[in-house]
Amino acid sequence: MTPWPQPPALARWLVARWFDGEAREVVLGDLAEEFDEQIRAGAGVHRARLRYWRQAVSSVRARRAADQLARSRHHITRKGIMRGLAIDLRFVFRGLRRQPAFAAVAILSLAIGIGANTAIVSVVRSILLTPLPVDRPDELSLVYWARPETLRTRNYSSTGARDPEGRQLHSNYSYPIYRALRDTDTPGVALAGFNFLRSVTINIGDRPPVAAGASLVSGNYFAVLRLGVAHGRPLQESDDVPGAAPVATVTHDFWMRELGGDPAAVGRSLLINGAPFQIVGVTPPDYRGLSPGGFFPPTEITAPLAAQPVLSPSWTPEQGSLFASTDRFWVRLLARRTGGVDPEQAAAPLSATLRGMAVDAGNIDAEDTSAVSVRFLPGARGLDSLRADVERPLFILVGVSGIVLLVACANLAGLMVARGMSRQRELALRRALGASRLRLVRQLLLESGVLAAAGGLAGLLLAVWTGPAIVAAVTAGLGPVAVDVRPDAAMLAITAGVALTAALLSGLIPAIRLSGRDADHLRHRAVGDTAPRLTLGRVLIAVQVATSVPLVVGAGLFLRTVVNLDAVDTGFDPRGIGIFRVDPSLTRTPSESARFYQDLLARLEAVPGMASATLIENALVSGWISNTNVEVDGETGQMYMNAVGPRFIETTGLRLVAGRALGDQDDSSARRVAVINQAAAQRWFPGQAVGRQFVAGGDPVEVVGVVADSTYESLRRPVEPTFYDSYLQRGRGPGAMFVMFRAGVPPASLEPAVRRAVLDIDRQVPVTAFRTQMAQIDETVSRERIFARLLLIFGGFTLLLASIGLHGVTAYSVSRRTNEIGVRLALGAQRAQILWLMLRQVVILTGAGLAVGLVGAWLAGPVIASMLFGVEPGDPVTLAASAGTLFAVAVLAGWLPARRAAAMDALTALGRE
């Protein structure tokens, strides 16, 4: 007997999947009954199964359609906060989809506000707050000492600082004092020595040399700092003894960039300043030495103090060793205090040792020792040479981004209040139907929350994208800076925090405001002519206008600063000049260096397109200067100085006013001569200057020429009395110099030829800082330029938002008062009167906002004063122009809808009733 046919299993499964419990049983039962019926009726198994399939699919479709319908009402049967939230959320999304323009404006403005804040707070965090990547950085201190008046030392790579009482502190110690301090018994305190080398020359294999920042450190430096290594081993005591094999560690950045991230690079050898060093380790990824940039560039090479004779030969005294010298101060000190040792207590024995040693060495007078004391300064973040330079610009940017966020929030709050007004009926109805006020507040906050979340997401992208640009903005002109702004958990947290603040700021006011509407408003609406006046929305717009004022004023001030800086006459012609830096003295003797320079100049002048080439100690308009004490006929004072090569006059294009220029004949064997600028001639040699003498650094110098004044340090500084002397007549021979050349072609196009020329002469001298003189000047103005641009963008943005708000409020008011306008027109009012009627509130709101904003701008003035040039923060022209621009834009925003009101005809207006 053939078995009774069965319905298709797959179809059964399908039904079972979509129906559950009793429904599954009933439906499957009905389907089975129908199938049996078909078989019994002789329809055939095939047709019965086909029909079963059809009925099953149809059943499932019915179930799904019913479910979909129910899902939109499901809250009916199930309660619970999450469920309600999901429904509210869906409702919010639906509402936003219905008003894409509102959503776009809201999200975009929040994205800019949140993005700007995230980026800047992240930059603040990484520059100002990130501690050194070592264990317990809070235990670290930098050990300075209060210096007395009578200090007789020669200092290398030293910097000052001030203690909390404002006393001048000194950073350096002689090597003998450093050893003695280390050996002083101070329980709970470990001392390590270090110092920075701005640049060393690295040769890896046959590749062209590169320049790198370096640190010299004591053998216990890694141990005291508790700095690990990513590969290899740290430096240790046995590396820092005379005669030890020369070794160094490289930073992770350097290892990745120059050594291809190859673990086998550990153990390899490279040339530092021409001497072979073995790489023994790679430091962890975030470590870049104790200075993130600024005065001391980030460290890439770390070598023992014992390597000083090779890595920093210029510090070595004429006789003897730097390590034995008691008057040369070149070692800085780092301390780790463990077990909560009191800094005062720890400093006492160190101070005693320092006093004794310094007096014995004759560094200070015996009766002056009371002033000498060791000071522990916070060292968790290393040296703050960068922080000091960027704190102010960062502070300004924090303020600016805060304003932008505030305006964005005020704008969104205004939009939501306005939108809420049109939803009053709905909200009131819901209140009447029993929705709790809390429930409505929650939903309105959810709406601003959704917008802030979307804005936050977009803002995060914006922050990741603009973070490096902001670092560049605040550190422009400060040289290499090692600051990471990477999207990480902290950045996400910052974004979330800012977005949440934005959501609350923009959502709370409308939420509280609107949720209070009750059923009374239902009746009001029926009357038609009592639409609310949007007082809150108008206040918010006045706030927006007020907060945009400082940004617009700031943009104006920075624009004028840039214009003023661009207009500064440098005195020389920077166009067509190229510059780069070389330092043969790191690897060559003084006489070899002098020959290198002479060869180089000769070769460069043979390069096609090259007009002339010279040398200069400090590049012009670079922020770097040299100065010295001078004595003229018994009178003492200071003069700026700059060592230069032959053909300086031709290359710079400066005018020779009197006498002669410097040339190759002015070498170390000749009498010391100098060319002075006109400012120096007026200050020191009124009348005839050529042929006169002055004393600089103990040597008599004869003035042989006078040149026109030119900018030296920066565009912001007035021309100082300056003398130019021959690079061949300086000290023990030429050190690092800039080569300055004038070309008949774009200077940048000569870079390959220049690099080849240097390589051909000496394979161990890297070309660094190649740039055009124009780029050099631009770089010193770039911070101001970037600020002008940022403030223009942000100011324009806030102005745009305020305009959108003004436009909205006026449009609303026009539609609200249509009847009134009709009546006025019917009674004979003029168009101009109607226009004014509508514009009046725009003028009042803008005026109020402007008044408050100008006071704010005036109060904020001192903050940016030091970054301005040739314009005061309270500059009346800028204030007036900014206020005028704001006012014009605001009135235009109001005029567009107001014009519509004025163009209405009385019958149409009344007919709307």
Binding site: E33, V60, I76
Partner: protein, 127 residues
């Protein structure tokens, strides 16, 4: 969809909506008439057979079930679960009865249709 349902999740609002919705779709009318006609034998399979016989329209068990489920939630029908029978693989079936509210709704819908169609048959043409 009535917007009231969308703006709030509170239970009572739903009932406001439910009681406001009195009209019946044609499928609902057909099912209610079938229940009346079948009296004590008004279950899924019976209803399907009756509707197919009388209208030629094939309803799926699922469609019948979810529609009646909805009508029950609107208090238009009541139902009881039957005993399992061997014929359906041991599965129980559900029996439906018309509720007073359902009778009223059916009456009103029919009356409305009659009012609207009165005197118009001729214009719709005849078969």
């Amino acid at each position: 969809m009535d917007p009231l349902v969308l703006i709030d999740g509170e239970r009572h609002n739903y009932y406001i909506l439910v009681f406001m919705r009195q009209h019946l779709s044609d499928l609902e009318q057909i099912l209610l008439y079938a229940i009346v006609r079948l009296e004590d034998d008004a279950h899924g399979g019976g209803i399907r057979k009756l509707v197919e016989e009388r209208t030629g329209r094939l309803l799926s068990p699922g469609a019948i079930y979810v529609t009646l489920e909805r009508l029950e939630s609107r208090r238009f029908v009541t139902s009881t679960l039957g005993e399992p029978t061997a014929a359906r693989g041991g599965k129980r079936k559900r029996f439906y009865r018309l509720a007073p509210a359902g009778a009223r709704a059916l009456r009103e819908t029919q009356a409305a249709l009659d009012q609207m169609s009165r005197g118009l048959r001729a214009r719709l043409g005849s078969r």
